[in-house]
Subunit: 513 residues, 2 copies
């Protein structure tokens, strides 16, 4: 499970000191040679991924204690650096690339996606303005529209790529705040007698990123109203409507509803169409968080859970989750991108584009003809994220992506059926996608919830210690719940079978307390 | 200046359809072969960068119109994809890697930095929790501390890597908001009679990211008080003190001062020590924006402009600017990281780490022993940014980085001296670092400011159209100002000399109006 027996690069390739001592970058030919060496390390890592533990069996401080406390004054040879990489970094990386990664939601970096990251690094683009990367900006426009079509959404949706769903949802809620007619971008929220407390609605199962966006945006955690769910962990629309009515009666101002398709704990599906009805009636922004499950919508036969999402004001789907784009890549689509722009646009003089006639300065109203993506985001600078998506979408084709999604759905159904069929095991939620929630209930502990929680935590810990698979947990209605989330591009049936074997073995070995 | 004559990859390497048609990723050996091919494209690009125009001579829509409007249903061969990459992307990328990039602030991706991005892509880490990447988390802790030491800052500073200075400053101002004692993270800012309008102070030359952070955080653009500057474009501390007093008298609540070391337009240096005195006296958060110029502080002999920044509450320095780390990489340091955590920490059950005894669940107070970086950021998911920095710091060594910084400072002094010595040219700001602000003032236009603005815009446009260099502009006291910002790792004296030749030629050719 360690990589200590892998070859350390030879001393023959040590760079000459004069290459480092100059004023410029690494010599181009030295870079080419070094990059070829690095490719072999990368390919070895991916090829031999199952030789590493998914979850490194180390304690905090194990890595940092092996690194020098002070930065190097003098240049070091690439051999020493790559040797340390093999010795310290690879074995202590968590196996996000490992087929036994069943924790959280998987985020595999596909082969073609990695090729895209390589080219992205060499191009060094910053598509903040059209002019600072015409290729990066226009490729982003094209890829965003390709994804929109792939997801079956109407042309009214336009959007952008961000780093994470946290940022996409933050942008969406900033737009909702802007759409509330209080011009928060200009005047802010503090010290205004004309602005009551604002309210955002999401189910009690909604992701923490929604709450964090409320914190960041100055709405505060208190602004997030958590709506109860039914026994399938789906938002109850009548409770949503009642909460809005109660808040209006109390003088608060509702601004947005967040519906989740594929919640983090159990991948439950909120009733988006009912949410859209309420949002329309109440004049609220509807944001759909489909960060994980949205990928399923690329299959027209599997779009039932998404019914009504075409009526959303904004939608987030994360290609870096179930579409295997290397981290980071989140897609934000909105049918009101002009409002997003109102929430974030600032054009200082040094970002204006000026024509040869001197026009285009402040107040001229002229400011390029291409899209300047920085006007839609909290950040000015941006990585070029479109290239890896473009390469990957072409290499797999939509058909290839759908095939892989369907395979994961089948594997999850198979695992759920195994849990259901096995005495002493209990499934704790429906399986609308590729994540199974379950626990072990040995006869001796039935009814003792505290003991069952501890027992299942011990099972999960024992399984994770094997290094073969990595599971994470949640709580559903207060019950400790093991999650098996299938989403790695490298997961095959044998890995799911192995997980089930390890779980049953651990359940027998772990002493019920 | 185009790449059409570069070899298109041969058909011999076309992947077999069955490799694409399965359930898993690109075959490992196919990935290895493809990645080696991609390395040659990357190395060719960097090696031949001067064959491309710095600023592509195309109109908006030129790239997107050549791409299929719909996504591909079926897989495409890598040859076709890489062929399109060479045909459409490279020639239409802006030359951030070009030695003639003198616009904005340069952001070269160094050779060792690119190697780091390659390994980062293959590892696919997400260091949101210690457990989701022990290596990524601990390497970040080490690299952040190395940078702190390199910058000459005391041990009290700790921090993290973010994507951009926009995010770093947003986090800093969110912490300032939190430190104001109104618990904005929990209660928000709206509808609170106990919270007056909040105020942030920065010079009129401060970067737009400060204003954007105010928008995002719910403070609003109105919360940012722009303090006038002296004739060197440096914040006037007495005006700052007066503005704070006036705001207090008006019932507003000051929360933060932003001092900039190296403003975007002219790279002017605010008096940080005076700002620290005022911040201490007034109980305000002091944030130092040294996104560009902070890199200079790695040379102990060049730290005069930074005097007093060790008294700041937070500091941002961008390694992806003048330390040549591939985009994105921004360093946020703070001596009050606990307040940053208060502003952003949320730990839902599915992110808790649970021990084998079942402890660690909600309310247990136990939550891992390693650092969980997501608690300090608006985002949950995060790229691993430490690896590229670690490789690069070791490959160059601090000595190598200092050598390159000093070279850029010398080149800028040389260019400024040339401008000063040339009749008809006027320098418009001091040159504390590597950016020169200037314009051409032909005798016939002297005194006609509107005509001078148009004349200089035309000069800049003519120079940019050559494709050999790329300049951007700003306005200083309303005057159109050409900026030559030296910061590319590949810029040599000959590129600066060429810029000066092209500028003088353009000034003669452009008809004064």
């Amino acid at each position: 499970m360690t990589a200590t027996d892998r070859p350390i690069p030879s001393d023959a390739d040590v760079l000459e000191p004069e290459q480092i001592a100059g004023h410029a970058d690494m010599d181009p030919e030295a870079f080419r040679a070094a990059a070829h060496r690095v490719v072999d390390l990368m390919a070895d890592y991916v090829e031999d991924i199952e030789r590493h533990a998914v979850l490194p069996a180390i304690a905090p401080g194990s890595v940092s204690s092996q690194l020098p406390p002070a930065p190097p004054e003098q240049p070091e040879a690439l051999d020493a650096i790559l040797g340390d990489y093999l010795r310290l970094i690879e074995p202590n990386a968590t196996g996000w690339q490992h087929p036994g990664f069943f924790a959280y939601f998987a985020s595999t970096a596909s082969g073609p996606g990695i090729l895209g990251e390589m080219l992205t690094a060499a191009l060094g683009q910053n598509p903040m303005l059209w002019r600072t990367s015409p290729a990066g900006t226009e490729l982003e426009q094209v890829v965003v529209d390709w994804l929109r079509q792939a997801l079956g959404l109407p042309e009214a949706f336009d959007g952008l790529l961000t780093d994470t769903a946290s940022t996409s949802s933050l942008i969406a809620l900033a737009a909702a705040r802007q759409a509330a007619g209080i011009d928060a971008a200009a005047a802010g929220l503090a010290g205004r007698s004309d602005v009551p407390a604002l309210r955002v609605y999401a189910s009690e199962e909604a992701h923490s990123s929604i709450e964090k966006a409320c914190m960041t945006l100055g709405l505060g955690r208190a602004s997030l109203v958590r709506i109860p769910t039914n026994d399938r962990f789906e938002l109850l629309p009548e409770r949503l409507a009642a909460a809005i009515a109660a808040d209006r009666a109390a003088g608060h101002r509702p601004i947005a509803i967040v519906a989740t398709v594929g919640t983090t704990s159990s991948t439950s599906v909120d009733p988006v169409a009912a949410g859209a009805d309420i949002a329309a009636r109440e004049g609220l922004w509807l944001h759909v968080d489909a960060a994980y499950a949205g990928a399923v919508a690329i299959d027209p036969d599997l779009r039932a859970p998404f019914a009504g999402w075409d009526r959303a004001d904004s939608i987030v789907v994360n290609p870096h989750k179930w579409l295997w784009t290397p981290v980071d890549a989140s897609l934000l689509l909105s049918r009101r991108l002009d409002v997003v722009r109102d929430a974030f646009s600032l054009v200082p003089e040094y970002l204006r584009t000026v024509g040869s006639d001197g026009t285009g300065g402040e107040g001229s109203g002229r400011h390029d003809d291409g899209r300047n993506y920085n006007e839609y985001t909290p950040q000015l600078g941006r990585r070029m994220r479109a290239l890896k998506l473009w390469i990957q979408l072409r290499w797999f084709g939509l058909d290839g992506l759908r095939r892989r999604i369907r395979h994961h759905l089948e594997l999850a159904q198979g695992f759920a059926a195994a849990v259901d069929a096995e005495p002493g095991w209990e499934r704790l939620a429906p399986v609308p996608f590729s994540t199974v929630c379950f626990r072990h209930v040995p006869p001796g502990l039935a009814g003792d919830e505290a003991a069952l929680d501890a027992h299942n935590a011990a099972i999960m810990d024992a399984v994770n210690r094997t290094g073969a698979i990595f599971l994470s947990h949640t709580k559903l209605r207060g019950t400790f719940t093991i999650r098996l989330a299938i989403g790695s591009l490298r997961t095959e049936a044998r890995h799911v079978e192995r997980a089930w074997e390890l779980l049953r073995a651990a359940a027998e070995e772990v002493e019920p307390r």
